[in-house]
């Protein structure tokens, strides 16, 4: 182990990236190193990406890790681990939690229903990166009875990679763990440190393979909207215009309902279901 190091911790706002990073920083300080640590507050806390750069050594100048120079990346979340790959030094270990936090924006293409979130492909990742240390920290911490200690599991996986003595780690953990939770976090830390690699990664890859979700899609043809203008009350009602989730419909002036955005219709039938005058129908066939 070299006498200096750069650790990038990444995750999602609310996962505790900053606290986990503070624990590593304090451990480095207790081990007698100079330390720099950088994170971004503000907008990124609102469910966005959170990353914390941590560097230690005899004398550290920059608080930021250069791309390709991280001695390890600790990802609290799968997608963020992938995003951070350009920071990882070639050949260096990637510690990655199998926790998935799917952002709302990944569920937006209503026509295809595709969720734009990368598959948990542990084996493919191991082929690309080599030293992947995957674990399901949330599940492991849950089995120990304290699911909130998941980050301590990951710090346990990190510990053998860094030249800090045990008392530095545990002292820092005790300083930062919420009141009364130190024993649970110390247990989670030891459990993480006890994981054997690459065995654990192989086991997780097998689990991920067996957990392929969901049945196939029963896609309908693009729907067709039919308006019976004689029955539509226009502006006097307007229920369908307000109810349509895709804002396909509009009523101009004294006219009847029109379909200015037919291509956005997903065929949900809310207009048909809610029209008090049976003036609009959704036909499933094109």
């Amino acid at each position: 182990m070299r006498d200096e190091g750069s650790v990038l911790l990444v995750g999602v706002g609310g996962q505790g990236v900053v606290l986990a990073s503070a624990i590593v920083a304090e451990a480095a300080l207790r081990a007698g190193y100079d330390v720099k640590q950088s994170e971004v507050h503000g907008m990124s806390q609102r469910g966005g990406v959170v990353s914390s750069h941590l560097r230690f050594g005899p004398r550290v100048h920059s608080p930021l890790i250069e791309t390709g120079h991280a001695d390890t990346v600790v990802a609290l979340e799968w997608n963020e681990g992938l995003r951070a790959l350009p920071y990882l030094r070639k050949g260096a270990p990637l510690i990655i939690n199998l926790q998935r936090v799917v952002p709302p924006g990944a569920c937006r293409d209503r026509m295809s229903g595709d969720i734009t979130y990368p598959a948990v492909a542990v084996e493919a990742l191991a082929t690309q990166v080599g030293d992947v240390r995957a674990c399901d920290a949330t599940a492991l911490a849950g089995r120990l009875g304290s699911p909130k200690a998941a980050n301590s599991v990951l710090l346990g996986v990190l510990a053998p990679l860094l030249p800090f003595p045990d008392e530095a780690w545990l002292g820092s953990l005790e300083d930062h763990a919420p009141r009364g939770t130190f024993p649970a976090n110390a247990e989670a830390f030891r459990a993480g440190r006890g994981l054997r690699y690459p065995d654990e990664t192989h086991a997780q890859a097998a689990l991920a393979r067996s957990a392929e979700p969901v049945g196939p899609r029963t896609r309908l043809e693009p729907p067709r909207l039919e308006v019976i203008e004689a029955w539509c009350k226009g502006q006097a009602c307007g229920i369908c215009v307000r109810a349509c989730p895709e804002t396909c419909l509009a009523i101009e002036g004294a006219g009847k309902v029109q379909v200015p955005r037919p291509q956005a219709c997903t065929g949900c039938r809310l207009c048909e279901l809610l029209c008090p005058d049976f003036a609009i129908m959704v036909h499933a066939e094109a």
């Binding site: 806390q45 799917v102 937006r108 809310l270």
Partner: protein, 615 residues
């Protein structure tokens, strides 16, 4: 070379944290608070703004004995007035703000350079290159030069502590406000700090001096001359200041730098000579000449504007800077390396990086249960042109709410709504949306303008009782002070009525129908109308967690109405209904706001069975 700054403080023996040589891991903001406290600051005022906010919060924590008066001011202008008044009263004063805050305070700032200070006045401007959480990335070093005041640029937490403390001495020595300019990577990076001792700065007391402090034109003319004369005196002092130093190493290339880029230079080019400027305005011309004469090639590495580069060029030195390093965005080690490669200082990197592959983008979003969501749903429904403002709710401009048309500066929403309405060029009602803290900051004069001139606009005040975007700071309508003491509370509805607003309605933003009907009524009423929401922020200062909801899967017809809220607790399941994805609620993060259930046509969203508040 020696690291100079930390030795020049003369302590009185008392330390804020036990032994004076204790190594602390502090953010730049915490370090500034510590430096100011150790320098005997007596009055501190600021307005929250990323990345400056934590300075005053840290100062409160460092001062349990309440030796310092600390306040969240209504806005940065008020904060600087308070600080200047305190300094003229003879008390060392600190004023903190983000970069754009100094625009708000600029009126006082420019003329405070004329009046001078008596006791030390330090203005911290926390700039945000890269705009991690800002609407622009202006370089406030230019404002310090504009005002002809000293500019200190710390590069890390130790310097942040040292410079903040020294800034008070400089301020008193030259009778001038001093700007300490940080950037996000200084304010929010942690580093080891060796703390100093607590100084006792004497209370100098107020001294009448109208010709210096009453800026009538006749007095101000003389003061402008004094400002310019002082600039020359300060320039001579900057030449020999321990805040500026030369590190002689290999002389093929010499780098002039200041602030955070210095740390990147030291990592990437540990063997080159460096002119490190901690006190960068007034510019130490002779020191720069000495450095330039000692190196074969002169490069400048600085974030944003070519501030140092222009000074060097004005001195007649041929410096290379922005031709290799970008003028926009934040510098990073890899950007500095690329620039050095392009400049031929470093050979081209051979290695490649791991590719990211396909990842899900993760922009910031409004939180589960955020009371700002439903009002923007309603605004979209009524087809309003929406002038937005600065706060969490600016996120309503993004999909799926997509219900905001403009956002420019603190408080701009109302004035811009007046202009949009008076332009005659908009179809549909014009609505300004503004948070409670932002309204009190700069929205109030514009609302008075709308009422006074009888402009037909609707103002939606999103009152969540806190300054949420920056982490939940109190303000004059929040009921507490920065120290958590009870305070008088602005009565927003009464305030609006007193300005002459005829239509004032308070609504529950968790009630979609009530909110929409109130907004419809407001936009239909003549003259200016105000709708105020009344739900607190769900995250700060108190986490609001009510009975979470869940989805009865067989009831969900996958209509996607709830997905239009953009709630992070709602996502697609693996299941389909007629080719559309069904939805699920994450019951751990759901706050039980009920808004999604109000959009659901099939009553598929129900309170989670078996839940109890105490678990």
């Amino acid at each position: 070379m020696a690291h100079p700054a930390s030795t020049s403080l003369h302590g009185t023996g008392e330390s804020l944290s036990g032994p004076a040589t204790r190594r602390l891991l502090l953010s730049g903001n915490e370090a500034i608070a510590r430096g100011a406290r150790e320098a005997g600051v007596r009055v501190a005022a600021g307005y929250p703004g990323t990345p400056s906010t934590e300075i005053l919060e840290a100062l409160v924590r460092l001062d349990p004995g309440r030796q310092v008066y600390v306040e969240w001011a209504t806005n940065e202008k008020v904060a600087l007035d308070v600080a200047l008044g305190a300094a003229l009263g003879g008390a060392r004063a600190l004023c903190t703000m983000k970069h754009v805050g100094l625009n708000v305070a600029a009126d006082t700032f420019m003329t405070a350079a004329y009046t001078g200070v008596r006791a030390g006045l330090v203005v911290v401007s926390a700039d945000d290159p890269g705009m991690h959480s800002s609407q622009n990335e202006q370089d406030n070093r230019l404002l310090a030069r504009f005002a002809a005041v000293p500019l200190l640029e710390p590069a890390d937490s130790q310097e942040a502590r040292d410079f903040a403390a020294l800034a008070f001495d400089l301020s008193e020595r030259f009778d001038v406000p001093v700007v300490v300019r940080t950037t996000t990577r200084v304010s929010h990076a942690r580093g080891v700090v060796i703390s100093g001792l607590l100084q006792v700065a004497p209370l100098l007391g107020f001294e009448r001096n109208p010709s210096k402090l009453v800026m009538l034109p006749g007095f101000a003319r003389a003061r402008h001359r004094a400002v310019l004369e002082r600039l020359e005196v300060m320039a001579r002092a900057a030449e020999s200041s321990p805040l500026n130093w030369i590190e002689w190493r290999d002389r093929t290339v010499g780098i002039v730098t200041a602030g955070i880029p210095y740390t990147y230079v030291r990592e990437i080019l540990p063997e080159v000579s460096v002119l490190k400027l901690g006190w960068s305005h007034p510019f130490p011309v002779d020191l720069a000449r000495e450095f330039a004469a000692g190196v074969e090639r002169l490069l400048v590495i600085e974030e944003l504007e070519p501030f140092l580069e222009e000074q060097l060029r004005a001195t007649g030195l041929s410096a290379e800077g922005k031709q290799w390093f970008p003028r926009e965005g934040e510098l990073t080690p890899e950007i500095v390396r690329r620039g050095l490669e392009q400049a031929g200082v470093l050979p081209e990197s051979q290695g490649t990086l791991y590719a990211t592959g396909a990842t899900a983008s993760r922009p910031p979003v409004l939180c589960p249960g955020c009371p700002h969501v439903a009002p923007y749903m309603a605004l979209r429904q009524i087809g309003a042109v929406v002038a937005g403002d600065i706060g969490c709710y600016t996120l309503a401009a993004t999909e799926p709410l997509a219900a905001m048309d403009t956002t420019v500066a603190m408080g701009s929403s109302i004035g811009m709504a007046i202009g949009l309405a008076r332009s005659g060029g908009t179809s549909g009602p014009v609505v300004a949306t503004i948070g409670d803290s932002t309204f009190l900051h700069a929205g109030l004069p514009a609302l008075a303008d709308a009422a006074y001139n009888g402009t037909r606009v609707t103002v939606l005040i999103l009152d969540n009782g806190t300054t949420a975007m920056t982490g939940g700071q109190a303000h004059p309508a929040a009921g507490t002070t920065i120290r958590g003491d009870a305070a008088t509370t602005v009565d927003l509805p009464a305030l609006c009525r007193s300005l002459g607003v005829g239509f004032v309605r308070v609504v529950d933003p968790y009630d979609l129908a009530e909110t929409q009907l109130a907004l419809q009524e407001a936009v239909a009423s003549p003259g200016v109308s105000v709708v105020i929401t009344n739900r607190p922020c769900v995250e700060v200062p108190v986490k609001v967690r009510d009975h979470p909801f869940t989805v009865i899967d067989e009831r969900c017809i996958a209509c996607q109405s709830c997905m239009n809220l953009g709630c992070p607790s709602i996502s697609w399941t693996g299941g389909w209904y007629e080719g559309r994805r069904k939805v699920q609620i994450d019951t751990v993060t759901c706050t039980g706001c009920t808004v999604c259930a109000q959009t659901c046509p099939t009553e598929a969203m129900v309170p989670l069975p078996g839940w109890s508040p105490r678990r």
